[in-house]
Amino acid sequence: MHSFTAKIFRRCALTAIVIASAAFAADTGGPAPAFTLTALSGGQTALSQYKGQVVLVNFWATWCGPCQQEMPLLDQMYKKYKPAGFTLIGVNVDKEEPAVKELLARKPVSFPVLLDPANQVSKAYHVDEMPSSVIIDRKGDIRYIHRGYRPGDENDYQDRIRQLIRE
């Protein structure tokens, strides 16, 4: 009975690992899906506008605690590396706009915030964790996907951004 259960566990764990690694490989290395979204400040913004720059696309929501924890740090990073050809786009996935406006009125950020209430862009980028940060190189390819946020992760982002800026 016990060895049977153990066998199932082992097979299961292996399958999980294979699938997990497959998910990673599928997204990085390929071109970042194009999108055009309405900006919170008004007007339409397209990802293609930023071709030639290193772009970090951050998927966040007002109801997501870790998302809010990293926002000020993302803002600092944006201000620091913008002169070097870096830009940060916040893609908000809330279904309703008022909560987003209210939150940003209390805790403003300087990087552009785009709205994805229909979640089309989130789907296209296979967002499977909140928050998610997708780092895109100057050629428009996805180079790195960071899932979730824990204090200290911003150092990871900075390392990757510096590496891509130098390319």
Partner: protein, 389 residues
């Protein structure tokens, strides 16, 4: 409910509290730090019990949380079956508990210790639980283990006679599953085995005795020295489109003492903006009696095990409750992110089908065994302030 019965299950319930601490966290994010000041009062069946509690929960690092709780309850009066023979009692119970939680990736580990002391009852509980998120955080599996050691005594006019020990080991398995964007469901299974001195020393069984003016006499209960119980609860919570939540739950309980208990509960939560939360609840509980329970035995020592404890009697209770939470600092102030005040009141109606009211009724009007069945109402108040920082 008297002091002994109250603390009888304190250790077990303290464990529930420990597990509830794990329950309160979502996925893998430890919730806000908080401090709660709590006051409660239970009035009913001839008893008044007040409870006061202070709880603090603080993150030490991003992955580690510590929680400490101090709870005092004071009992005055005694339940009907104790009043039948004993005088009013006043008792104070002090409980201290500490919990440590550690989060790593998708797993939360929790360890807690609870110590409860009163002059005739001591209890120590240690529990460990593990909570794991899987399937894209749609499923949460919880496993828990609890160990309790109690010392049971009897207060005879200020002199404490230590009667024995009781030990209990409990296992919990829970699975919580997100079914849709609006619906979450869960199943919890709990198994507890107790060993040792399990009776309430302040309660007695009664037997027919024509030599007594009342027609019956009282004697000390004799309980089995083991008990194993199993409970399974299923619950579901649904988000209503206009922003409200409705919860339904059902629990089935059975044990080796022959008790089968069914619990049905329905809750409705209605928030108003970011400021008010109104809640209403309805609960129905019904059980049969333990197989060694009887309201009246024919003679002393009729069976190997005999009890006349209200908790083991057949009956049901219905609860209607309402709760109001007001966020007096909805967006925080200085170091507080948010602060709320809550008032909760419940009205419980208890009815027994094989436990008789022998405090107020007897000969010559009522023959032993024909007194009216006991029923009573209780009101439970809770007032607390929660500060999140």
């Amino acid at each position: 409910m008297d002091a002994a019965a109250l603390r009888r299950s304190v250790s077990r319930v303290a464990v529930l509290a420990a597990l509830l601490l794990v329950r309160a966290t979502s996925a893998d994010v430890l919730p806000d730090d908080r401090a709660d000041l709590f006051y409660s009062k239970y009035s009913g069946g001839g008893m008044d019990i007040t409870g006061e509690s202070f709880l603090v929960r603080k993150k030490i690092t991003e992955n580690l949380v510590v929680e400490a709780n101090y709870f005092v309850d004071k009992v005055s009066g005694a339940s009907i079956d104790v009043l039948s023979q004993a005088s009013q009692i006043k008792d104070t119970r002090k409980q201290k508990s500490g919990t440590v939680e550690y989060v790593h990736d998708k797993t939360t580990y929790s360890l807690s210790y609870i110590n409860s002391v009163e002059n005739d009852y001591k209890s120590n509980t240690t529990s460990f639980s593990l909570k794991q998120d899987m399937f894209g955080d749609l499923t949460t599996l919880t496993l828990g283990y609890t160990h309790t050691d109690d010392g049971v005594g009897e207060n005879n006019g200020g002199v404490i006679a230590w009667l024995g020990h009781a030990q209990s080991i409990g296992y919990d398995v829970g699975v919580s599953q997100i079914l849709t964007k609006n619906l979450i469901a869960g199943v919890n299974v709990n198994v507890i085995t107790d060993n040792g001195y399990l009776a309430n020393p302040y309660r007695s069984y009664r037997y027919l005795d024509s030599s007594n003016a009342k027609g019956y006499s009282l004697a000390s209960q004799i309980y089995p020295d083991t008990r194993t119980s199993t409970a399974v609860q299923t619950e579901a919570k649904y988000y209503l489109p206009y922003r409200a939540a409705i919860t339904g739950s059902y629990r089935y309980f059975t044990d080796t003492w022959g008790i089968v208990g069914n619990t049905y509960e329905l809750d409705y939560t209605h928030p108003i903006a970011n400021i008010w939360i109104l809640e209403g609840r309805v609960r129905f509980y019904k059980q049969n009696s333990a197989n060694f329970y009887s309201d009246l035995y024919n003679f002393a020592g009729q069976y190997n095990f005999m009890a006349r404890d209200q908790n083991l009697a057949a009956g049901d209770n219905t609860t209607i409750g309402a709760k109001v939470t007001y966020a007096f600092l909805p967006d925080g102030w200085k170091m507080f992110k948010r602060a709320t005040a809550t008032f909760d009141v419940s009205r419980i109606e208890y009815k027994y089908t094989d436990f008789r009211n022998i405090k107020y009724y007897g000969l010559p009007q009522y023959q032993p065994g024909h007194e009216p069945l006991y029923s009573f109402n209780a009101t439970v108040y809770q007032i607390y302030m929660s500060m999140f920082f």
